[in-house]
Each structure stands twice: as structure tokens, then as C-alpha cells.
Symmetry: C2
Subunit: 231 residues, 2 copies
């Protein structure tokens, strides 16, 4: 991704002759946001294939938690930093107008959509007031240029179920994105048992959800089959 | 807070002769984390009064979202940055062992506990593996020195209901902290109507929660009366 022509060449090779069903990108490229013009050919190409992008959060311990420090402590860069990175990248994509340019763009966000569902109130009525906290830019104009409320763009993302077996967050995320936009994932093998625990616990959570069996099937595999255009 | 002796003097005056029922602090002090030794007298004093600390998130637009930029865009510093700041501060306090030193310390976190309830899986089984992603420090030793699982310390915080009228996040946060640890707050007057909307919508959410009337009373006022030792 630091050489966009090479990245585009590899994208075309993977999606074309190798018949890949999607690509994965990180939530930032060497510290740069995904809404920069240089990365737009990637999103345009995947919109034209009508196949998904998995967006994985990225940050490491060398981003300090406080400006007075050199490194992130206690793995905060991972625990909180990763879902934060996902959420910031989602916000940047939304406000860059990417979903107005590519209404069929499919981006699958890790860990049940980062922070967005839990902060539905902030990205909802909060962002409806975008601009009231800013004096050096006219965000009121930006809000008018967008075709939808910010909240409605955030709901256009897809989310996976990798909450490490957390039931209430899964309910919260599912309500936010809707059953058509949630896909099974477990984050295996990064659990205390080295692989089985998050798969088992995620299945337990999905089996407990107050939804129909047809909806459960959607989350387990039908949404993936639809998005990835599998037979 | 940049002059801890003066801050302690004001704390003693407010809590003593003015009979204040608690204090508010920000989630960082001029960019410095709350677990620094210099701030510990504040926490020790409030633990000895057995009265709460409200911890308000703080960050401004001059903290960029990406290292390649100068300022935060689209008010991300507020929408996502604030709950992130709350969560990072909570993590630092937990791993500094503050709840082992002061088991009765009462810290009320804004916006339903920041990110923590939604990332229960990350602060639960995720942080049980603290150290597996770090090679330059021995966090395994730290985990052993703490008396509880990291998750159990996060549950010792209190949280307010200021989710701006978001029902599912409120359910999720309430399940995480438990009905004894959740207090009414609305964030009025920072809503699109300039004051009434978040109060009205938060009340609607609390009235819909699947809890008993006695539990609803706890959230509305009994928990506050207990914590603040009001008659």
C-alpha cells in the first residue's frame, strides 16, 4: 500500500486471475488515513467488483497513550487502540463521502464495528451537530453536502462477531448494523486456550441471540455467501 | 491539578468546610496520566472521605487522529476521542493497582464507562493474556501481583447513563457494571434541542429497561443518594 500502483496490480491479479473474493486492508497505511486521494483507486476497484474489503485495525506499542510518554503501556495499543483505530478509519471514510461515491461499497469491520455501535448516540445526535465544537472549519457545509445523516453511513458498514464471547455487546452491535450486515468471525486462535475458546464462545453467543433460525444462518454463513458471491 | 498542593488544599476546603459530596477530575492532566505518583494524594483523600470522583474525558482538536496530520478532523477528538480517553484512563488506574490500595474508591465514568463494556471480551479474556504481545516488559509478573482479574477491576467503576438516548448500549453497559453501579446522567444541554432532548430520551431508555421498579429507582436516584451519602 506504500506503492499504490503495485498494490493495484496485485489487487487486479488477485481479484482477476486468482479469483479472490475480497481483499484485506489495514485501518491506516504507515500512519496515514485511508481517505487520502492516493488510496481511492483501491476502494473504487472493490466497489466495481462489488466484493468486500476486510478492514483490520492496526496500531503498535510505539504509539504512546499520552503525549508525555514514549510507548503505550499495558498493551492499551491493542486492547483499546485497535477498536479505536477501526472507528476513526470508519469516521474518516464516512466524512470523505466514500459511500456517496460508491453506495455499494462493502467494508467489513472487525470486532463488531469498533466503538461505533456502543456510541450510537455520539455518531447519531452527536454528529448531527457536527461543527458546533469547531471554529476553524465549516463542517455545517459538509453535513449539507452529504446525502444522508452521518449515522446512516455508519450503518452501511458490515461487522463481524469477534467480541471474544461477549453476549451483550453482540446484541448491541447486531441491533446497530442489522442482521444482513453481521458476519461470523471468532478471532481464533488468539484466545487463552490457543484456538478453540473464542470459536466455542462465539458460537454460544450466536446460538443464544433472540433471533430466528434463518437469521442465525445469515450470520453463520449466508451473509458471507452473499457478499462473497459463493454458490 | 498542575499544582498538587494547591489542588489538595482546595479539595480539603471543598470536602471539609463546604461539605462537597465529591469532586470532578479530567481523564488526563495536561496530557499526563492519572496514575502518576503526584496525583495519588487526590485518590487517597477521596477514598478516605469515601465519596466519589467524577472522571470527565478530556481531549481537544490539537491531538491529531493520525501522526501525519496536525489536527483532529470532523470532531473525532470529541466523538471517539473522549470515550477513548476515559477508557485509557480507566486502564491505567486498574493496572497501577489503585483498587488494591483503595478497594472502596468510587470513580464515576462518563458515557456508560467509555469503551469498556462493549469490549468486555478484550478487557476480559483479552487482558488475561496481558504480556503475550509485549517483549520489553514482564506483564505476567504484574498480572500475578494484582489481586483480581483485570476484568473484575473494570467492574469496580461506576458509570452514568449519558448515552444520548441509545437503548442497546445502555442495556450493554448496565449488564457490565450492574444496577448498583449505574447512575442517571443525560449530558444536558448538549443535544440538538439545546437541553431537553437528552434528558427526555435518557428517561425513555431507562423506563424501557427490563429491570424492576426498585432497580429503576436505584439508577434514577438511590445509587446517587447512597454514593453521595445524602439523606
Amino acid at each position: 500500500m506504500n506503492d499504490i500502483d503495485a498494490a493495484m496490480g496485485e489487487l487486479e491479479r488477485a481479484m482477476g486471475s486468482l479469483r479472490a473474493r475480497g481483499i484485506q486492508i489495514c485501518s491506516n497505511i504507515q500512519g496515514k488515513p485511508l481517505d487520502l486521494p492516493e488510496y481511492q483507486p483501491i476502494f473504487a476497484a472493490m466497489a466495481s467488483y462489488d466484493l468486500p474489503i476486510w478492514m483490520h485495525p492496526y496500531r503498535s506499542a510505539d504509539i504512546p497513550d499520552y503525549p508525555t510518554e514514549e510507548r503505550s503501556l499495558y498493551e492499551i495499543w491493542w486492547t483499546l487502540g485497535w477498536p479505536y483505530e477501526s472507528s476513526v478509519a470508519m469516521s474518516r471514510l464516512v466524512f470523505s463521502g466514500i459511500f456517496d461515491r460508491h453506495p455499494n461499497l462493502k467494508i467489513i469491520t472487525h470486532h463488531m464495528g469498533g466503538m461505533i455501535p456502543y456510541f450510537e448516540g455520539r455518531v447519531g445526535p452527536g454528529l448531527d451537530q457536527l461543527g458546533t465544537r469547531t471554529s476553524d472549519r465549516d463542517y455545517t457545509k459538509l453535513l449539507k453536502e452529504l446525502k444522508k445523516r452521518p449515522l446512516d453511513y455508519f450503518k452501511m458498514f458490515y461487522a463481524d462477531t469477534a467480541t471474544f464471547g461477549a453476549y451483550d455487546p453482540t446484541v448491541c452491535g447486531l441491533k446497530f448494523f442489522g442482521v444482513d450486515n453481521v458476519l461470523f468471525a471468532s478471532d481464533a486462535p488468539f484466545d487463552p486456550e490457543g484456538g478453540r475458546m473464542y470459536i466455542r464462545e462465539t458460537i454460544k453467543v450466536i446460538d443464544r441471540l433472540p433471533i430466528s433460525d434463518a437469521e442465525r444462518e445469515q450470520i453463520y454463513w449466508r451473509n458471507a455467501a452473499r457478499l462473497l458471491k459463493l454458490d
